[in-house]
């Protein structure tokens, strides 16, 4: 399972960075999204994946019978932040599209009138 997650995280990072290097605005934003998904999966797998052990403590349980709840809460926070940032970049891209009428980052430059 950890191997699979590691490969998925790697693939998400690679495709995210590739898309960020493209000239199209939409691809940049999709790349950012993929990158943040990649780091979320990385947090999950780096902290250790456990199977069928929800982090709910009942009487008589010890810590190693539970999944670590901290990475899950980190990912939750990161998802919320990523969502907000993604929404903001989409609005910004829309504004850019309105004023430049192009999806090409190189067309936005100050010297390209």
């Amino acid at each position: 399972m950890e191997l699979l997650l590691a490969i998925i995280a790697g693939a998400l990072y690679a495709s995210g960075l590739y898309l960020m290097l493209r000239r199209r605005l939409a691809q940049l934003i999709i790349g950012l999204g993929l990158l943040s998904h990649g780091s979320n999966i990385l947090i999950l797998s780096a902290a250790g994946v456990t199977r069928a052990k929800p982090p709910l403590m009942t009487v008589g349980m010890t810590a190693d019978q539970l999944a670590d709840p901290v990475p899950q809460s980190l990912i939750l926070t990161a998802i919320v932040i990523g969502f907000g940032v993604l929404a903001f970049s989409l609005v910004l891209a829309h504004r850019v599209h309105q004023s430049v009428a192009s999806d090409d980052i190189d067309m936005m430059g100050p010297d390209r009138a």
């Binding site: 250790g48 850019v96 004023s99």
Partner: protein, 501 residues
């Protein structure tokens, strides 16, 4: 409770600003009052830290490694004071008038949000919380940057947003790997666990990830390109806020995280940082000489001088680190002042292109003399604060035998003198461009425009006059930073609980 005030007060002010009737005079007064209250709280924290050592606040009263702690040592306290000083100056400029369209979409609350994020980043003792404050600060600055219509401004905003989000992704990655390795996020707990978790290979990878993430925020070579591409487009007050604070948060985070988490001064990352700092100085100043716009020259100077602030960390001696901290303080003040000065140009001439400026000495001799102080201070002309700070950075280099580095730093100072002299000559001294003198367009500069500049300039002079006591404070800050044990004991107590994995 006291430690939470620099975070809670701007938050309360921002909420209040949204609820109040949207009359611009009222909003300006409330915004200004909010930042004044932060200044009071910050000075109070500083006095506390000076009197009784490192202050710790455990939010929600859980014992230390399990909750988010706020920690103020001398370095944090000094930085929070500087944030609030710049906050006061920036909110005061609002009295001179803000574009009504910006005011309608929440200019005033956004300034408070940025101040809150920066103060939070300076005070937190938890590395994931640091990431969250980075994001708070970035979202605030993103919106401030992108309240624009023109093509150049949108382009700048997009560059800024894209690269800063990339830095955030790097930071999150590094934090995730660090948690996987150590099982804790509390900085003090991570520092204490260092001997057990120390594995040279993973440490090198982690430290490089942190270096990249903080390097993008701080504007180190070769990661700085977003900065000169974006900082010259927003209005002067926003420029002053972002230029004064945001890069310094990157520098602060770098110094804080590296001194606590990577305490091996012979690690490869410090050699990399040393080289990058030196190259940043040279490239930044050469870039500044090639520019023809007041604010673009400032942006490149901002980048170049970041090298001075990170080099102390790379050298890893108390004297060098203290020098760098002094440099951070001086640089925050002076760069913010100069961006506010560029606001005076915008008010008078509607441009900061050097070609269209000039003749301002004739029309505004007092302002010209006022602007001379921060310009010469940045250049490092004695007896101003820049000279003191440069001595504090360069003397430890010579002391530890880094002669080549000292030579580079001194040559860069010379280039700064050239760059600053050119700025003053082009904008004040040379005769006014024809189009300007014939149009007779001369709006008056009110108290609200010049007042904040006078305030910051007088603080620069104070920093020069009281260089002795202030450099003792920064030296103490550096000692505290390099004494990781004191930080750990202050946060966790003697032999407190270790987060179990």
């Amino acid at each position: 409770m006291l430690l939470a005030l620099p975070i809670l007060l701007p938050l309360a002010t921002a909420i209040l600003l949204h609820l109040l009737p949207q009359r611009s005079r009222l909003l300006r007064v409330v915004g200004f009052g909010g930042s004044l209250s932060v200044l009071v709280a910050a000075v109070w924290i500083f006095v506390r830290v000076q009197r009784s050592g490192i202050q710790v606040l455990e939010i929600a009263s859980w014992p230390a490694p399990f909750d988010i702690t706020l920690v103020a040592d001398v370095f944090s306290a000094v930085m929070v004071v500087m944030v609030s000083v710049i906050g006061v100056a920036v909110t005061a400029t609002a009295f001179a008038g803000v574009d009504p369209r910006r005011e309608a979409v929440g200019y005033h609350p956004l300034i408070q949000v940025v101040l809150m994020g920066v103060a939070g980043a300076f005070l937190t003792g938890d590395i994931f919380n640091l990431y969250v404050w980075f994001e708070v600060m970035l979202i605030g600055s993103f919106v401030l940057m992108s309240l624009h219509r023109t093509r150049a401004q949108l382009h700048a905003a997009f560059t800024y947003v894209g690269l800063n989000l990339l830095a955030s992704a790097f930071l999150l990655t590094a934090i995730g790997l660090l948690y996987g390795q150590a099982g804790t996020l509390n900085l003090a707990d991570l520092a204490r666990a260092w001997p057990e978790r120390h594995t040279p290979g993973l440490d090198a990878a982690l430290s490089m990830l942190f270096l990249t993430a903080f390097g993008i925020k701080a504007g180190l070579f070769p990661l700085f390109f977003w900065l000169p591409a974006s900082y010259h487009t927003p209005p002067a007050a926003v420029g002053a806020l972002l230029a004064g604070l945001l890069t310094k948060v990157g520098v602060y985070a770098m110094i804080r995280v590296f001194t606590l988490l990577f305490p091996n001064p012979h690690a490869i990352v410090y050699t990399v940082l040393l080289v990058l700092s030196a190259v940043t100085m040279v490239v930044g100043l050469l870039g500044a000489l090639a520019q023809h716009d007041f604010r673009r020259v400032l942006s490149f100077n901002l980048v170049g001088h970041i090298g001075f602030t990170t080099i102390g960390l790379a050298l890893w001696t108390p004297a060098a680190l203290g020098g760098s901290i002094l440099y951070v303080l001086h640089h925050m003040l002076v760069i913010s002042t100069l961006y506010l000065v560029s606001g005076l140009f915008l008010r008078q001439r509607r441009t900061t292109e050097l070609g269209a400026l000039g003749g301002l000495y004739r029309s505004q001799p007092a302002v010209a003399c006022l602007a001379l102080i921060p310009l010469f201070s940045l250049a490092g002309i004695p007896p101003l604060s820049g000279f003191v700070a440069k001595v504090a950075v360069v003397a430890p280099m010579i002391g530890s035998g880094h002669y080549l580095l000292a030579a580079v730093a001194l040559c860069v100072s010379l280039l700064t003198v050239l760059s600053m002299a050119r700025l003053w000559e082009e904008s004040f001294w040379k005769p006014a461009a024809m189009s300007v003198s014939s149009s007779g367009f001369r709006p008056r500069l009110g108290v609200a425009m010049v007042g904040p500049v006078v305030f910051l300039v007088s603080l620069t002079i104070a920093l020069s006059a009281f260089a002795g006591p202030i450099s003792r404070v920064t030296a103490r800050a550096a000692e505290q930073l390099l004494d990781r044990n004191a930080y750990v004991v202050a946060v966790l107590g003697q032999g407190g609980p270790r987060a179990a994995r």
